[in-house]
Amino acid sequence: MPPAATAALPSIQALPTSGGMVPSRTTPAPKLTKQWQRESARSYGLGLAPALVVLGGITLLPLLTLITVSLTPLSLTNPEGTFHFNQPLGNYAQLLEDERFVHSLWVQFKLSTVGVVLQLLIGLSLALLLNTGSRVASGVRTLFLIPMVLPPIVVALIWKILYTPEISPMHALLEHWGLPVRSLIANPDTALWAIVAADVWQWFPFTMLMVLANLQMVPRDPLDAARIDGANRWQVFRYIVFPFLQRTLVVCALFRLIDSFKAFPLLYVLTNGGPGTVTEVTNFYGFIQAFNFSYWGYGSAIAVVMLVIIFALCALVSYLGRNAGERHAR
């Protein structure tokens, strides 16, 4: 029998770490160690400081500006609105009554949930398909990642071509089979799902990648044991592999959910939020308010609402991630 299954799991805690700054047994004198620790802390601090200063300048400062602006009516038509705090929550109150905003949240919800579910299903199936020792599978694995690394604008361009009937090979094929379809992105009933299809095409490799990495850590012993006990493929997957993957899938889903709030190039190039406002997600609506209409205060308020939602999801990720770590370490 090979060693216990848990030994095969890489655990961060098990990695050799040298705790202190200096190998404790071989140091000459404790006095020197103290001094060395102080000195090393100072030089590490010096190395970290520029990054912290720059990050503070480019993240905290904009965040404060964003929140401040969101409390003012600042816009192109109202330049004096810069430091105008008469109705600090005016923008937020308006958001609640803004049907287009509420609608954008609903569109975002549809796009995110359907997209994430499809990405999980396809990513998981492909990971299981490619999880063999065969040379073809290992050679093909990286090629499956291509959609994910392509610049988003190129992805949008590719789908613009596929969804434009006059030049689309997809439409040509459908017509050849006697199924002429009018442009999917011009039809209000299908526009959002056409976007979802493109988004899934681009991002299912992310799930595939995470699941594949995780599959390689599935302990062999329970698998062999189950097979010896006569479990079939489905049972092995359902009762041994899937429980092992569960956390990864949840974290994956949350990552993709967070990222789905940023979908922009596809929407901008394919539908521009249309037809009407059928594909207008919250991010896109914020963009329109801020940069098409120059209502910077109102656009900021939308961005703040999105930040709150995303950071709540982030907190969930780090909570689940920590739990997953503990489970694996056990």
Partner: protein, 292 residues
């Protein structure tokens, strides 16, 4: 299930277990290979279609056949166009931003990897959060600030904005690479009288060279791929290649071969670079769920 469960199969007889499930192991594996290759072809067909469009003569652009003589006309037209300039802008912005974020981020990553101070996890989390925040939250304040400073439509505005995600990538990725290097070598250097940073420079940094290259390449790719920030913060002077493509879509009367050629040129560096850092790609792409 139960019929099989009662069969006495032991580990050395795994082959016979495979036979029981219906398909012999080698045949099953080949079937999977065939299916995965077919799926890959379907998946990448749209990309191939874009590339072949770039080589068509303009008159043939809308034809749906493969009977054409490949030509470089579309690329030549792009070269004489403003696109060449935007391509140059993209190269400049991406290199500058990559260089700057490596310069600031690598020492920070080293400090985060070696220095066990109390707020360490908080700093790391903060850096990850910058990666998660929606770009719109950054663009409004940056737009207003650059407008006020007169920096809209400049290369430097983009270089600074791209630090928001590049610094996060560098610190997260490099921290991982530094963690993987045992501290014993540095400690030896310290005992020999090296300072922390000279030990870092002479001992640790050379050991992480592949990691440095992979990180820089990923930073370059992410900056190169950005569309959102470039769309908002540039007008004419500092326009990058992705934004130039959209301008083609809007103003140039749908010259599809030119659009396809531009798309091909924009994806080319990304494909080459990812092929180069294939080994580290996974590490970078999953570090905190990095994307864009």
């Amino acid at each position: 299930m139960h019929a099989e469960a009662s069969l006495p199969i032991s580990a050395p007889q795994k082959a016979s277990w495979n036979a029981l499930t219906g398909i012999p192991a080698f045949a099953a594996r080949h079937a999977r290979d065939v299916i995965s290759v077919l799926l890959l072809l379907v998946l990448l067909a749209p990309v191939a279609w874009l590339i072949q469009m770039a080589f068509r003569p303009a008159a043939d652009a809308l034809e749906l056949n493969f009977q054409f003589t490949p030509t470089l006309d579309a690329f030549k037209a792009l070269w004489q166009d403003a696109f060449a300039r935007s391509f140059g802008n993209s190269l400049l912005v991406s290199s500058l931003s990559t260089g700057l974020s490596m310069l600031i981020g690598v020492p920070a990553a080293y400090a985060l990897s070696r220095w066990k101070f109390r707020q360490r996890s908080h700093v790391a989390l903060w850096i990850l959060c910058t990666r998660m925040a929606p770009p719109i939250a950054f663009t409004i304040p940056f737009f207003l600030a650059f407008r006020w400073l007169g920096m809209l439509d400049t290369v430097w505005a983009l270089v600074i904005v791209y630090l928001t995600f590049n610094l996060a990538i560098v610190t997260w990725m490099m921290q991982g690479f530094f963690d993987a290097i045992p501290t014993a070598l540095e400690e030896a250097a310290w005992l020999d009288g090296c300072g922390i940073w000279s030990a870092f420079w002479h001992v640790t940094l050379p050991l992480t060279r592949p990691g440095l290259v992979a990180t820089a390449v990923l930073c370059f790719i992410f900056s190169w791929s950005d569309f959102f920030f470039a769309l908002i913060l540039t007008r004419t002077q500092a326009v990058t290649a992705p934004v130039a493509i959209v301008n083609f879509l809007q103003y140039d009367g749908w010259e599809w071969t030119k659009i396809a050629a531009a798309g091909t040129l924009v994806m080319l560096p990304v494909l080459i670079f990812t092929a180069l850092v294939r080994k580290y790609l996974v590490h970078g792409l999953t570090a905190g769920g990095v994307k864009d």
